[in-house]
C-alpha cells in the first residue's frame, strides 16, 4: 500500500497530485500527519505543500474542466468529509488522464459523488442565507449565531456584505468556534473565548447585551409568524422538509 501524508490543506492536496505525477507513484491513501496509519504500508511519502506546484496543478486542471467544476472541488473540500481527500485526488487524476476531461460524465461514480457533495455544501450555504437571524446588540453590532453542517461560512460572505453593507455584523459558527466580523469595510475572522461560547450556543444573549428595541421586534416577528399560518392547512411534515429541525436552534420564531 502506498501512503502519502500532507498538511491537510487544499494546496497540500494539489501538491500531492504534483508529487504523484512527478514520482509516478499513485497513493492508495492520503492522510494528514496526525491520522492513524494503517498496519501494512509498503511505501510512505511525506509531501510538502508548495504553492507554486499546487498552482500549476490548479491551472492545468483549468484546461481540462470548467470554472464551475473547479469551484465544485472547492465546495467538496469545505464539506470536510473523511472521503474528500481521496475522492478529489481520484477526480483530478481521472480528468488529467482523459484527453478531454470527464467533467460531464455523470455515469462515473466519482464525478457524480463530487457533484452530489458540492450540491449538498451549496444547499447548506443557501440554508444559512435563509435562516441566519441577526440580533441587534447594545453596541450596534448585528449578531447571528449559526451552526451549519459544513464549513460554509466563507461561501456566504459576498451575500451578506452586499446586502447589509451599512450595518456591522458578526456571523458566528458555534460548532467550529469561528466567526466572521464585518466592520462595514472588510471581513475578518474572529474567535470567542470558551467562556463566551457557552452563552452563544444557547442562542439567547442576555437582555443587557441587546439593544432596547430588539426584544420588541422579535416579539413582532413571532406574532407575525403565528398569524400568517393558515390553520386549516397545518402540515408539520412539509414545514420540516423545507426547514429541517437542525436549523431551528437560532430562529426566534420557533422558541
Amino acid at each position: 500500500m502506498v501512503v502519502f501524508t500532507y498538511d491537510n490543506t487544499f494546496d497540500g492536496l494539489l501538491s500531492c497530485v504534483f508529487f504523484a505525477y512527478e514520482q509516478r507513484k499513485f497513493p492508495d491513501l492520503i492522510l494528514s500527519e496526525s491520522d492513524q496509519k494503517p498496519l501494512f504500508i509498503d511505501e510512505q511519502y511525506h509531501v510538502d505543500t508548495e504553492k507554486e506546484k499546487s498552482n500549476r496543478v490548479w491551472k492545468g486542471l483549468g484546461k481540462k474542466i470548467s470554472k464551475f467544476a473547479r469551484n465544485m472541488l472547492l465546495s467538496v473540500w469545505l464539506s470536510e468529509l473523511p472521503e474528500t481527500t481521496m475522492l478529489l485526488f481520484r477526480y483530478i487524476r481521472k480528468n488529467i488522464d482523459h484527453p478531454q476531461g470527464i467533467e460531464m460524465n455523470f455515469g462515473d461514480d466519482d464525478v457524480l459523488r463530487v457533484k452530489d457533495i458540492a450540491q449538498k455544501v451549496g444547499a447548506d450555504a443557501r440554508k444559512l442565507i435563509q435562516f441566519v437571524r441577526f440580533q441587534e446588540t447594545a453596541d450596534g453590532i448585528w449578531f447571528a449565531p449559526v451552526s451549519p453542517r459544513y464549513n460554509v461560512l466563507s461561501l456566504i460572505v459576498p451575500h451578506f456584505t452586499s446586502r447589509y453593507a451599512g450595518q456591522p455584523w458578526i456571523i458566528y459558527d458555534t460548532e467550529r468556534n469561528t466567526g466572521l466580523y464585518y466592520d462595514m469595510r472588510t471581513v475578518q475572522e474572529i474567535t470567542f473565548s470558551q467562556k463566551d461560547l457557552v452563552e452563544l450556543k444557547s442562542g439567547r444573549l442576555d437582555n443587557e447585551k441587546l439593544s432596547d428595541e430588539e426584544a420588541f421586534f422579535q416579539k413582532m416577528w413571532k406574532e407575525y409568524f403565528q398569524r400568517i399560518t393558515v390553520k386549516e392547512r397545518i402540515n408539520l411534515k412539509l414545514q420540516r422538509q423545507h426547514m429541517p429541525r437542525r436549523y431551528w436552534k437560532y430562529l426566534p420564531e420557533i422558541q
Binding site: I102, M104, N105, F106, G107, D108, D109, L112, R126, I129, Q130, F131, V132, R133, F134, Q135, E136, W142, A144, H159, S162, R163, Y164, A165, G166, Q167, E213, F216, F217, K219, M220, W221, E223, Y224, F225, R227, I228, T229, V230, K231, E232, R233, I234, N235, L236, K237, L238, Q239, Q241, H242, M243, L251, E253
Partner: protein, 420 residues
Amino acid sequence: MNEKTLEKLQILADAAKYDVSCASSGTSRGNVKGGIGTATGWGICHSFTPDGRCISLFKILLTNHCIYDCAYCGNRRSNDVKRAAFTAEELAELTIEFYRRNYIEGLFLSSGVMRNPDYTMERMVRVVKLLREVHRFNGYIHMKTIPGASSELIAQAGVLVDRMSVNLEIPSEQNLKLLAPEKDYPSVFAPMRFIQQGMLESAEDRKKFRSAPKFVPAGQSTQVIIGATPDNDKQILSLASALYKRPSFKRVYYSGYIPVNSGDSRLPVLSKPPLVRENRLYQADWLMRFYEFKAGELVDDSHPDLDLDVDPKMGWALRHPEFFPVDVNTAPYEMILRVPGIGVKSAKLIVTSRRYGRLNSEQLKKIGVVMKRAQYFIACRELPMQTVNELTPQYVRRQVSQKQKKAAAELLQYPIDWGE
C-alpha cells in the same frame, strides 16, 4: 412603534394570510451606496410556517377596511371583524426592521379597498416610495394592484416595485359576477395589460438609454381560487396557459378554497380545502412551464379534470403508451423529459453523460431517476424491462397509484420558488 402597532400587525397579517404568492425571484440587483438590501434572482425563503408555506416576503395588508362585499373574502364589508390600518411610515419602518434581521426578503403589500381604488392605491404607493427613497431600500417589493385604480398610479408604482399582481380569484367571469357582484373581468385585465405594456416600453427604452428606469422587472403574477366554484381543471389550465403566453407573466398561483364565511349559499360547503387537487394543478403548471407540455395534453374534453390518483405527467404517459418505451441512450431531450420519474435535472444529466458511454439502469438510479415510476417507460443498455406496452396501462396505473395516493395525501405542497 408600540403595542398598538403590534395589534395592527396581528389584524393585518391575519387578513393577508390567504394570499398565496410569496415568490421573491426574478430580479437580481446589487446594493447601492448608502442603501440597504439586494435582490438575488433565485428568491430566498426565510422561514416556513406550520402549514408548510414559506415566508419570503413580509406579506401584509395596508388596511382591511373594504368597500367590496366578495363572498369568498374574510375582509368583506358585511363581516363584523376588527379593522385596522397602518400608516405609511409605520409599515415602512417595520419592513426595514424585519429586513435588517434577515427575517424577510422584502415586502408584499396588498390592501382592502378604502373609500375608492385610487385612494387606496395612492396610499400603497406612498409606502413603497418611502421605502425606496427615504430608507433607500433595495430589496424586493411585490405590490398588489387594486382593480380599478388609475393607470397613472400603476405607472408610478411600476418603476418602484419588482413585481405587480392582480388577482383573478375566480377562473370564470360568470362565477366571479356571482360571488363578487361589484367586480368584473375587465377591471382585472385592464391593469394586467397596462403593466405588460409598461414592461415592454421600458425594455425598449432601455435599449436606447441604459439608465431608463425598469418597470416591474420581475413581471406579474395572479391567483385563482380552486374549488369555490364549479369551474373544472380544463378551464383553469387553459386560462393559465393563455396567461403564460404573455411575455410579462411569471406565475399563476392556485389557492385551494378555504371557507372563511359560513352561511353563504353561493359557496360550497367543504370539510377540507381541496389540497390534492391544488397540488395536481401546481404539477400541471410546472409541466407547462418547464416540461413543454401544452394545456390540451394534460386535460381535454374527455378528461376535463386532472386525475387525483396519479400525477399529471404519469396520467399523460398512461393515456399515450404509444410514445414508450423511450431509449434514454438515443432519444432526444424533449422525449426523455416526458418520461414519468425523470425530471429536468436528471434529463440534462442523462444527455450530457451518455456521450461518454451507454448508460445502464444502475447509473440512471444514481443520477436521480425515480425508477419506481420510470421503469415502465424506458429502455436502456440492458434488455428492455417490462414496459407499459406489455403490462398494459391499467396494470401500471394500479401499481403506481396506490403509492401515489399515500404520497399525495402527505405531500400537499407548494413547490418552492428557487428561480425561474
